[in-house]
Symmetry: C2
Subunit: 342 residues, 2 copies
């Protein structure tokens, strides 16, 4: 592949607040060569994820990106060269190769997964049949443990994870209440994703009262993608033995210095609430189970999804920044080159 140049987006500078495009640079260099056991991928889609805020911040986390290296990202692409016995040229795979046209991947890593591009649109491998769907599935079912009749509240309810959580909770017989910002997202929640009620946190002057009105029997499961004041408010309404799934912290722009909020421990104690962080990667050995269930629900029309796709790798940093302004109306993807399976 030495005849091509490879474009990729590197992190130039760590973020002290929300991600902005100027933290990133585009570089062009040689297409890399796979070593024995590795494969070379030509990407079709990469992603912009809310969690990336943490990956590039000064406070280190589970997926911190070093400056000068390719920005981490989930990806789907086609194998163009294989030095692994079980992977063939032409295989379509989901991986996490970063914001790059070409990238080397190690098929032995848990995030490497073959995808059938005929079974569903390829982009869903990065959304409802990939990281977002799996996050919703394991976070809700394993940590949230919803029971029929439970009231399940979800923040960023119109988002890729939140919308899947709401729909899985409905499938499990729960009453679902979404929290989102702006009339378009509220309409998505109730008209597309089937939430029983949706609260526009930007339009209500009293979020506590609005949630109370939407949850007259209290909250059994809170699937939280935002943290912050919304979490503080919800914790005061969680029922005895309720479960709070901590999946994201979108409401907090930066964690250095660590911000303050209402102390949670009394609510946890008095109502014996479980609050637990969830990361999909911990469930990698059960991805097949999630994929099978989600595929069936998708085929049967019980799960719907929205995508927001921008073209061109160079637009990835702006797409990422846009997430935090709430501009996207669905799973934010970056199409690196035309999707050959459309």
């Amino acid at each position: 592949m030495a005849q091509h140049l490879n474009r990729r987006v590197i992190l130039s500078e760590r973020a002290t607040g929300l991600p902005t495009p100027k933290l990133f640079s585009i570089v062009e260099d040689d297409v890399p060569s796979p070593s024995v056991g590795e494969v070379l991928l030509n990407n079709i889609y990469v992603t912009a994820d809310p969690g990336m805020k943490g990956w590039i911040s000064m406070a280190r986390n589970y997926a911190s990106v070093e400056t000068g290296t390719t920005m981490h990202s989930f990806s789907v692409g086609v194998v163009v060269e294989s030095k692994h016995p079980n992977v063939a040229e032409g295989d379509v795979v989901a991986a996490n190769t970063g914001w790059a046209e070409y990238a080397v991947a190690d098929p032995e890593r848990q995030t490497f997964r073959k995808v059938d591009p005929e079974a569903a649109p390829l982009s869903t491998a990065l959304g409802v049949l990939g990281i977002n769907g799996f996050t919703a599935y394991f976070g809700l079912l394993s940590v949230g443990q919803p029971k029929p009749g439970d009231t399940v509240v979800v923040s960023t309810a119109a988002g890729a994870v939140g919308s899947a959580v709401g729909q899985i909770a409905k499938i499990k017989g729960c009453r679902t209440v979404g929290i989102a910002g702006g009339p378009e997202k509220i309409a998505l929640c109730t008209e597309i994703f089937g939430f029983d009620a949706a609260i526009d946190y930007k339009a209500t002057g009293d979020l506590d009262a609005a949630i109370r009105a939407a949850c007259p029997e209290g909250i059994d499961v809170y699937f939280d993608n935002v943290g912050g004041e919304t979490l503080d408010i919800v914790l005061g309404q969680v029922n005895l033995h309720g479960r709070v799934v901590i999946c994201g912290t979108a409401a907090t722009d930066a964690w250095i210095p660590q911000p303050s909020g209402l102390r949670p421990e009394r609510n946890l104690l008095v109502n014996r609430i479980k609050m637990e962080g969830v990361l999909t990667f911990d469930f990698a050995d059960r991805y097949n189970e999630a994929h099978a269930d989600l595929s069936e629900w998708l085929r049967d029309g019980n799960i719907r999804y929205r995508e927001d796709i921008v073209d061109g790798l160079e637009n990835a940093p702006a797409a990422l920044a846009g997430l935090y302004e709430g501009r996207n109306m669905g799973r934010q993807l970056i199409r690196v080159r035309p999707d050959p399976f459309l």
Copy 2:
């Protein structure tokens, strides 16, 4: 029993801060009569518990006491009149009859339990073989889920619950680190209760550094009886998939208005920590299991305990206030009348 007057302590006024004796009054009235299915108890010991702060505060909780009624309390006493077919006069029972010399109890309630006064000192039914031991047992084993080699940190480590937690954790093969206030309690932790290390939070200028030094491999289980800043600090040192057992909030004097602290959600997410409130009563159907294990450990010398006993029901309010000044050096009991089994 109409020939006796009954002395009891009632709550006169709800607390806005820490309990003080003037919130309580002593009243004398007739000894009550049991209805069909009930029994009359003549108490020997009642208790002063850290959790009582919450029972009498303006913010309602699981055991709120109404003003004008007998202060809630755990108790052991002798049955002096029975109208229940399975309970006989002379039976010794643990119950929660409140701060009273005589009280009617319903044996069908989960907190009513016959005690063998020959098997262990009667007072242990209110401590290591009762509410404190059970709290430690279920909180640590069911919620904390310690594994051999884990580092287990305990706050109020010299207290009735904390000391049992530390010793059960040692039995389960863990390394134990206690946090307590003052040299006497630190000595109890390391010399009597077998903690591998103990931190005097009153003597250290940098609790974060002191905990880090005592837990070089991080913290796997935090059994928390205090909340507040200690919880904030510990959360920053909890390992991947660590467990935080919320058992008490002794560090916070009042919850109206709800105080602020460092936001926990990022630590929970990045390290996938579980933080869960625990209340012993939820495990009432497993008390026999806890009692059997704790009795064996007590007989074998693997669990030790300390008691701090004051004589006279009239001294119960002062004993309660003393808890929050850290004055007691063991399970705080009030001896209502001479213990006939000593």
